[in-house]
Every structure is written in structure tokens, then in C-alpha cells.
């Protein structure tokens, strides 16, 4: 019998369990991260199943139940128009998630495109794109989002675009530096030698290796975009009525009742903080797992 005939059952026997046990291991090794993941899961659940969780419509006004204390019937109380706050927070998760995910995805998309092109092509294209990234990074996040939101007008999709723009630079930078490193790898040379087009090499071979840090950055930016949306709504821009946005629940009309009905102000703020907290915890743990070099 030659060595080649030796069975390889040991490997195949382990494989069906390895993914699950890997997850279990990470959950134990990163308790904070697990908590973060759990929080995020709760919010995603609320956003998806909002119709089933909330007893009231988030936009139904009712003069007879204005400003009720949290209690039976209305778990978190009602606001100045008689709308149930719990329902508004649950549906608000949808908005925050939509804005957060939307702007992060959009920002990442452009960031990856810019970073990849810049790193791979090099030369004056790189110089120009680097300047664009510099410019986008030098204008403060909120100011850029503010002017963009003012330019586009108050609407959900406009808010997503407005917040995505300031998120582009950081992603682009990281992708670019990764691309620069990968560009010199031998497998790229090999692919070129075989006759693959530069575009294919960039997209099919270099890009997948840069995705790992992207996930980490994206989770951090998710939190930042939720906060930016809240600030924009607080300043009067952002997602308009009647979409229940957590940020807007904290601004103008509600702020009047900051002492007579503090639950109007406390709960949306807690929702924002918790959501961002969860994404940050999760993002931290992800960073520790996937790429220790990226730690802050």
C-alpha cells in the first residue's frame, strides 16, 4: 500500500462541525462582541417584524391620549400628538437601519471603487483620486452632510446619499493601501503572465482580498451614520415626517416637553445610543477576529 491510499476521513469527519464550533468559540472569547451582535440582532428583528411587534400605527394621531406616561396600553407612553412611542421606536429602527445600511453600503461601494482604482492603476489617476479623498476628509462630516442634505432636500433617499458621501474617504484609503500591497504579490504577476486583463485581475483577484477590513470599517461607519442621521434630523434636515426617525423624535416639538414628559426625549435617545453601542461592540469584536492589524 502506498501512502496515497491512506484514507482522509479524519478531515471530512470534522468539517460539518467546524463552522458552528468556530462561532461558539468566538462568542465565548469575545463576550462584549456577542452582546453587540445580540443588540444588533434585536434591532434588525424589530425593523423587519415591526408590523407584528407594535400594537399601534406609528403615525396615527389621537388627541385623547396625548402625553401619556409609560404604562399599560402604551408601554413607553405617547407623544404630544397621541402617537405611541414604542411603535415609533420600533418603526424608527427601520428608518435608522435603512439610512445606516444604505449610506454605509453606498459609501463602501464608492470607497471600494475609488480605492481599488487608485491603488491598482496608480500614476496620475492615483494622485487625483487621493486629492479627492483628501478633500472629502477635510470637510467635517456633519458640515458636508448638512450641505448635501440641504442641497438635495429632505427625503429618505437624499439623506442616505448625503450621509454616504463623507463615509467614502476612510474606506477608499484603506482599500487603496491594501491594493497597493497586494498589487506586488506574485499571483498578480502570474495572472498577468497568463494574459488576464487588468480589470479582471483587479476585480476577481485583488478585490476579494481587501473585503475583510471592509466589513470591519463598515460596522464602525454604521454607527457613525446612525448618529449623523440623528444630528441632521435634530437640525431640521434628514428624514422628514411622517417617517418616524429617532433623531427627529428628539428635536423641536419633543424638546419642548423635556421636563413635563421626559419619556419623549429619553427613549429615542436610548434607542440611538443602544443601536450605535451594539454596532460598535460588534465591530470591535469583528476587528479583533478578522484583522488584528486594524485595531484602531
Amino acid at each position: 500500500m502506498s501512502i496515497i491510499d491512506l484514507p482522509v476521513e479524519t478531515e471530512t469527519a470534522d468539517r460539518p462541525e467546524s463552522v458552528w464550533s468556530k462561532i461558539r468559540y468566538h462568542l465565548g472569547a469575545h463576550p462584549l462582541g456577542s452582546i453587540g451582535a445580540a443588540i444588533m440582532a434585536v434591532f434588525v428583528f424589530c425593523a423587519v417584524f415591526a408590523d407584528f411587534i407594535s400594537a399601534y400605527s406609528p403615525t396615527a394621531t389621537d388627541a385623547t391620549v396625548r402625553l401619556l406616561h409609560p404604562g399599560a396600553g402604551h408601554v413607553l407612553g405617547t407623544d404630544q400628538m397621541g402617537r405611541d412611542i414604542f411603535s415609533r421606536i420600533i418603526y424608527g429602527a427601520r428608518i435608522s437601519l435603512a439610512v445606516g445600511l444604505g449610506s454605509t453600503l453606498l459609501g463602501s461601494l464608492f470607497g471600494v471603487a475609488l480605492g481599488l482604482t487608485s491603488g491598482y492603476v496608480g500614476g496620475w489617476v492615483d494622485l487625483v483620486i487621493q486629492r479627492i479623498i483628501d478633500v472629502l476628509q477635510s470637510v467635517p462630516l456633519l458640515v458636508l452632510a448638512l450641505v448635501m442634505a440641504a442641497a438635495l432636500g429632505p427625503a429618505l433617499d437624499n439623506t442616505i446619499v448625503a450621509i454616504s458621501i463623507p463615509l467614502i474617504p476612510y474606506t477608499a484609503r484603506v482599500i487603496r493601501s491594501n491594493t497597493l500591497a497586494l498589487r506586488e504579490q506574485p499571483f498578480v504577476e502570474a495572472a498577468r503572465a497568463v494574459g488576464m486583463s487588468e480589470f479582471r485581475i483587479a476585480v476577481r483577484h485583488v478585490l476579494p482580498n481587501t473585503i475583510a477590513p471592509l466589513i470591519v470599517i463598515a460596522t464602525a461607519q454604521l454607527g457613525a451614520s446612525i448618529l449623523t442621521e440623528a444630528s441632521l434630523s435634530f437640525l431640521g434636515l434628514g428624514v422628514p415626517e411622517p417617517h418616524p426617525s429617532w433623531g427627529r423624535m428628539l428635536s423641536e416639538s419633543a424638546a419642548e416637553y423635556v421636563r413635563t414628559a421626559p419619556w419623549l426625549v429619553i427613549f429615542p435617545g436610548v434607542a440611538i445610543s443602544l443601536a450605535v453601542f451594539g454596532t460598535n461592540l460588534f465591530g470591535d469584536a469583528l476587528r479583533d477576529i478578522l484583522d488584528p492589524r486594524l485595531r484602531d
Binding site: 483628501d134 440641504a150 442641497a151
Partner: protein, 336 residues
């Protein structure tokens, strides 16, 4: 000429080449900085023009009517009817001369509106950064040195919450607490007189703004410190029997602080967002709140020049830090 002498001359020449490299590095960075500023001016200019409505619209809107002829006249007066590239060139050439134009709203020179408000925001920002560094750095060091203990976890959770709380919410809660428990309120209604009054008025909003920055700095100090503590030379120092304190503070901290200094530069730009909302909540008449108001009024001269000012400050800080890095860290010089 012996070989040794050749070697010495070669070494001498290399020294001058190194110096020249630092020089070129600085010049290149300076030129790139100018290019970035040019890009920013283009960006803010075009974006403002994209925002629907101009000062004429706002001014007439306040009167509840639109008089088309008068509106056209106003636009002509302010130069808004000229082609956009012409307007851009006019603005930039004015900037170069030091002429910032006139505010559309108050009809006073823009510089008279911007300049007096800068010290107010500067005080707030300075105090916020001071607070952030004073709390962030020591707590980050402690967290790193006591890694994975309960203290570390607690500190990490607190710092993370600093990054998660919306700063205007925090400000609102602080105001509520103050009125509820002290009856007094740190709101700006008149310019404060004297050092202690100023401190009292600005320190609470500064803490609201600085909380977030302190969290960032704490986390960065911690990870940077952890990184350094793993290095070989630290292990060597420990093996040599140096006391923990010396190892931590003399060797590790000094090296760990380098990236933190970079971040403070970047933080200056992020600070602006917190400043905007905090100045609104605490009613502080600084440039941040003024910027939001100017955007609402479509007061182009104010918005453009103010954003340029903030950008210049941010870019200059980063440039100086790059310089500092180049001088301190030889690897950077050779890399370029």
C-alpha cells in the same frame, strides 16, 4: 584616495541627500496641501450652488411674497446672476487678496461676522480637547496596562458609550439635570466676564462635546499602548529587570503617544459636528452654530469662507503633524 576616504565622502554626501529628501518631502506635502485646499474650495462652492434657493429667495420668503423684478435686481446687486465660473474666480481672487466679501444677510463685511465668533468656538473646542486628552490618555494607559481585567472592560464599555451617545442628547440631558438639581443653567446670554465665569460657562458644554473625543482618544491610546507593550524592546527592558513603572511610562508611553497625536489632528475635524449641535443646545454664539444659520440663509460669502477657514485649520494641523512625523520618524523620510 584611499577606499576609506571614498567611503567617508560617500557617507557625507549621503547625509546631504537625506537632508534634501526631508526638504523635498516638506515641499511636496505643502504643494499637496494647497491642492487639497483648492479642491475643498471647489467642493463647497459647487455644493452651495446646488442647494435650491439663494439669499434672494430667502429674503423674499420672509416677506411672504415673491416680486420677480425685485428679486432679479437683488441677484444682480449681489452678483448672483453672473456665470458660476466667474463667481468662483471672483471669490477665490478675493480670498487671495484677503477680501472675504460681504455677508448677504447683515450686509456687513464677512470678516467682521466671522472673526469675533472664532474665539468663542476656539475656547469651547480647546476646552473639549483638553478634557478629552486629560481623561482619554490616562484612562487608555490604565486600560492597556490592566488589559482584560474588570477595570479594562468597564473602561472600554464607558468609552464605547461615549462614542454612541448623540452629543445633542447628552447636552439636553445635562441642561435638564442642571436646572433640576442646581436651578442654575450654563447658558450663554451675555459674554462672560472674567476667567472663572468663562470657565464655568464653557466647561459644561465642553464636556458634552469632549466626551466623544475622550472616548476615541482612550481607545486609541489603549490599542497603541497594547501594540507597543508587545514589542521586543519592552520585553528586553522587562527581562533586564526594569521596574514596571519605568517600562510602562518611560519606554512604552512615549512611543504609544505618537499615533495619538495624529488622531488629535483628525479629531479636530470631527469635533466640528459635536460643536455644531452643542452650540445650538447651549445657545453659544460661536462659528459652528453660525455656520448652520448661514447655510439656512444661503449666505454664500459666510458659508464658503467659514468652511474654508475650518478646512485650512484642519489641513494645516495635519500638515504640521506630518512634518513632525517626518522629523521624528526616519522611516517616513526614506519611504518618500
Amino acid at each position: 584616495m584611499t577606499l576609506e576616504r571614498c567611503g567617508a565622502l560617500w557617507g557625507r554626501a549621503a547625509y546631504f541627500r537625506r537632508e534634501a529628501r526631508v526638504g523635498t518631502y516638506i515641499i511636496r506635502r505643502f504643494f499637496l496641501m494647497l491642492l487639497t485646499l483648492f479642491g475643498i474650495s471647489l467642493l463647497i462652492f459647487t455644493m452651495l450652488r446646488l442647494v435650491p434657493g439663494n439669499i434672494a429667495d430667502i429674503v423674499f420668503n420672509a416677506a411672504g411674497m415673491i416680486d420677480v423684478a425685485e428679486k432679479a435686481k437683488l441677484e444682480k446687486e449681489l452678483g448672483l446672476d453672473r456665470p458660476i465660473p466667474v463667481q468662483y474666480v471672483e471669490w477665490v481672487s478675493g480670498l487671495a487678496r484677503g477680501d472675504l466679501g460681504y455677508s448677504y444677510v447683515s450686509e456687513k463685511p464677512a470678516i467682521d461676522e466671522i472673526l469675533p465668533r472664532i474665539p468663542i468656538t476656539a475656547k469651547l473646542a480647546g476646552l473639549a480637547l483638553l478634557f478629552a486628552v486629560t481623561f482619554g490618555v490616562p484612562l487608555g494607559v490604565i486600560s492597556a496596562v490592566k488589559q482584560n481585567t474588570t477595570l479594562d472592560y468597564v473602561l472600554r464599555v464607558i468609552s464605547l458609550s461615549g462614542l454612541s451617545l448623540p452629543s445633542f442628547w447628552l447636552g439636553l440631558l445635562i441642561l435638564m439635570a442642571f436646572v433640576a438639581y442646581f436651578g442654575a443653567i450654563p447658558i450663554y446670554t451675555n459674554p462672560p466676564k472674567g476667567f472663572w465665569n468663562t470657565l464655568w460657562l464653557f466647561s459644561i458644554p465642553a464636556m458634552a462635546v469632549g466626551f466623544r473625543s475622550s472616548a476615541l482618544i482612550m481607545r486609541l491610546t489603549r490599542s497603541s499602548m497594547l501594540e507597543v507593550l508587545r514589542q521586543d524592546y519592552i520585553r528586553t527592558a522587562r527581562a533586564k529587570g526594569a521596574p514596571a513603572r519605568t517600562v510602562n511610562y518611560r519606554h512604552a508611553l512615549r512611543n504609544a503617544l505618537l499615533p495619538v497625536v495624529t488622531v488629535i489632528g483628525i479629531e479636530a475635524a470631527f469635533l466640528m459636528g459635536g460643536l455644531i449641535v452643542t452650540e445650538t443646545v447651549f445657545n453659544i454664539p460661536g462659528v459652528a452654530r453660525f455656520l448652520v444659520e448661514a447655510i439656512r440663509w444661503r449666505d454664500y460669502p459666510i458659508v464658503q469662507n467659514l468652511v474654508m477657514f475650518v478646512a485650512v485649520v484642519a489641513v494645516s494641523i495635519n500638515f504640521l503633524i506630518d512634518l513632525l512625523y517626518a522629523v521624528l520618524d526616519p522611516r517616513i523620510r526614506y519611504a518618500s
